[in-house]
């Protein structure tokens, strides 16, 4: 019985120590780790295509956070479904958990790339950005041009994705697409186990 009491006391000690364990946390070094940044850029692990992002949103990838770094007015006008608005001047104040995948986008991509560097300097290494920004989102996801030489399966995939976000694929010529409605619940996110 005494041993059980000791177990309880040590559990309490470990638990109550938890809020003060900040200093033991693996150091999120501020300042730029230039080597790792250069490596990420070279490897291409700094960005993600608009189409890939669309698949992630549809499959409800766990821990995904889509961040729109444009102004609130632009965000209000149109934004990628599930995105949250964190204007670039607010970025340093935002909190990002280590288990999240952060995807940054802007109108054309430049601001998102710069935001990526800002986050890196804050020690957030799990961020990526969409190089073509919203323009790519429209071109690749909402109103994609179906390649003439694509296999039927590829075409169906592209069409599916476009329809999921409420867009219309373009077949050959120009065809204006209407803007997407908000995305709903994704399908078939796979999980194993009990």
């Amino acid at each position: 019985m005494k041993f059980v009491r000791q177990l309880g006391i040590s559990a309490l000690a470990l638990g109550l120590g938890a809020p003060f364990a900040g200093s033991l946390q693996r150091t999120q070094q501020r300042g730029l780790d230039l080597d790792s940044i250069a490596r990420a850029i070279n490897e291409g692990s700094d960005h993600v295509s608009a189409r890939q992002l669309a698949r992630w949103i549809r499959d409800r990838r766990s821990g995904l956070r889509v961040i729109d770094v444009r102004s609130p007015a632009e965000f209000h006008d149109y934004a990628i479904p599930t995105a949250e608005n964190v204007p670039i001047d607010q970025l340093a104040k935002a909190h990002f958990a280590p288990d999240q995948t952060i995807v940054l986008y802007s109108q054309e991509g430049a601001h998102a790339g710069q935001a990526w560097v800002i986050l890196r300097s804050l020690g957030v290494t799990q961020a990526v950005f969409v190089p073509g920004g919203l323009a790519d989102w429209r071109e690749e996801v909402l109103n994609p041009r179906l390649p003439a030489n694509a296999s039927p399966a590829e075409r169906a995939q592209i069409e599916d994705l476009s329809h999921y976000f409420g867009g219309t694929p373009r077949i050959g010529g120009e065809q204006g697409g209407d803007v997407a409605s908000a995305a709903q619940i994704g399908r078939g996110s796979r999980r194993r186990g009990c």
């Binding site: 041993f3 059980v4 177990l7 309880g8 078939g188 796979r190 999980r191 194993r192 186990g193 009990c194």
Partner: protein
């Protein structure tokens, strides 16, 4: 019909179980489980008997799509559970008594067991986990899902307990 050797101290066993769970997290990235094994085997059976039926149900599909459902991680784990529990019971001399028929359960009790199993199977499938997979493993990760499930489980249990008092004299 007392067991030959008494059961271990629950708190200490609990800590050991926690360490097993921790090892499981460290080695496989996910927690323990049990009901998933039943779902995996059920999917395997349906897939073998009638692939068409399995194709219509996204639930079966989800267990069939990566690898054989018969050798899924969780099925192998449950086979391990059977072996471990049998070994522990045999070594502690707790097996024999129940085998000799000294405590043969009544037919009503077996029916209650099957009915309870069906309800738990449905509940675990809806909740995406059971006491080990969701409540214990998820609880340790501070998942909201685990705490909702645990609260609902005990709420229903305490509420229904007086109604089935006859089963547990």
């Amino acid at each position: 019909m007392r067991p030959l050797r008494p059961y271990a101290e629950p708190h200490i066993t609990g800590v050991c179980l926690g360490l097993v769970l921790l090892a499981c997290f460290a080695l496989s990235g996910q927690g323990l489980g049990a009901s998933g094994a039943f779902a995996s085997v059920a999917s395997g059976v349906v897939g073998a008997v009638s692939p068409e039926t399995a194709g219509h149900s996204a639930y079966f599909q989800s267990y069939l799509q990566d690898g054989s459902p018969w050798t899924a991680w969780i099925v192998v784990e449950i086979i391990g559970v059977l072996i471990g529990a049998a070994a522990s019971a045999a070594l502690a001399g707790r097996t024999r008594l129940t085998y000799v028929g000294a405590v043969r359960p009544s037919g009503g009790k077996l029916c209650a067991g099957v009915a309870g199993g069906i309800l738990m199977g449905i509940g675990a499938a809806l909740a995406r986990g059971c006491t080990s997979g969701l409540a214990l493993s998820g609880g340790a990760m501070l998942s909201v899902a685990a705490w909702i499930f645990m609260l609902a489980l005990f709420f229903a249990g305490f509420l229904a307990a007086p109604l089935v008092r006859r089963l547990w004299p």
